[in-house]
């Protein structure tokens, strides 16, 4: 080996700093591989469109004068095709701030997301 001397210590130290900086940059790059995964999974998992669509179906049902059999259609088909336990009730019209509205309760549960709503329609 060559003999030891003490020159160039600043250069060695700067080299160490650069190495540490590169290490942290590598950590960031490593994290970027996961970008969007949890977001996409969350969107896929959360039945936003299903719940909105169910609400519209219930509103159509109330608009149509609560015809016989339609509620059973929605409950049965939801269970069979959407893997969701659904129920809803429509009450009698009552006075709500000067308007005659029906209380509507909607319950939705697909095992992951549970949604309950009471509204006047």
């Amino acid at each position: 080996m060559a003999r030891m001397n003490e020159e160039g210590q600043w250069i060695v130290l700067m080299g160490l700093l650069v190495a540490v900086a590169l290490f942290f940059l590598a950590l960031i790059v490593n994290q970027s591989a996961l970008v969007g995964q949890t977001t996409a999974e969350g969107v896929l998992e959360f039945p936003k469109n299903d719940i909105r669509d169910l609400r519209e179906a219930v509103f159509d049902y109330v608009d149509g004068g609560c015809p016989n059999g339609v509620q059973e259609d929605i409950v049965e088909i939801s269970l069979e095709r959407k893997n969701a336990v659904v129920n809803f009730t429509v009450g009698e019209r009552r006075d709500v701030s000067g308007r005659e509205l029906r209380p509507v309760e909607i319950h939705y549960n697909n095992g992951v997301t549970e949604y309950d709503e009471t509204m006047y329609y």
């Binding site: 591989a33 669509d53 059999g69």
Partner: protein
Amino acid sequence: MVNDAGQLYTMEGVAAGLIMLLTAYIVISTTSIYTTGDTHIPDMQLEQLGSDVLAMMDTPDGDGDGRSRLTELIGAGKGEMLRNEFLANCNMRTEDPDDNLQAQVFLSYRRTDGSVNTTPLSSPSDPGFTGRENTVRVTRWVQLTGKPSGILDIRNNTGPYAVLVEVLLWRA
């Protein structure tokens, strides 16, 4: 002739060569990294697109009788036309050639005995459909006032009915 001076330099050279090879390998393989998100993001986008198109087709054109295009087509039993109009809306892109999405339409309804039946309303738009495509399913509730044509065993003869339109959507 051969002498053994400079052996340390030779070893250093070999080590440096190995390090450079390793670096080149890592750099080149980085560009083809398959992120875990790749499996879910396209599905999510496809599902959102399909839901939006169904919601749009379920919106009545005017104030009139409040019947949407989706309700009309289901009531008339025109599954092929529904599939084609759905795909026309899905594949539309601004200033670009059309996208290449494929679809098949199904209808779920309740039969006389109370069981739920699902029947295809259209054939797959892709003649080479194998059943192994990576599809997403989007659905929409439709309420019909009369019996949909072509569906003979729906639960009673008068209606109204609530039926579920299901669309399988995939990228060919």
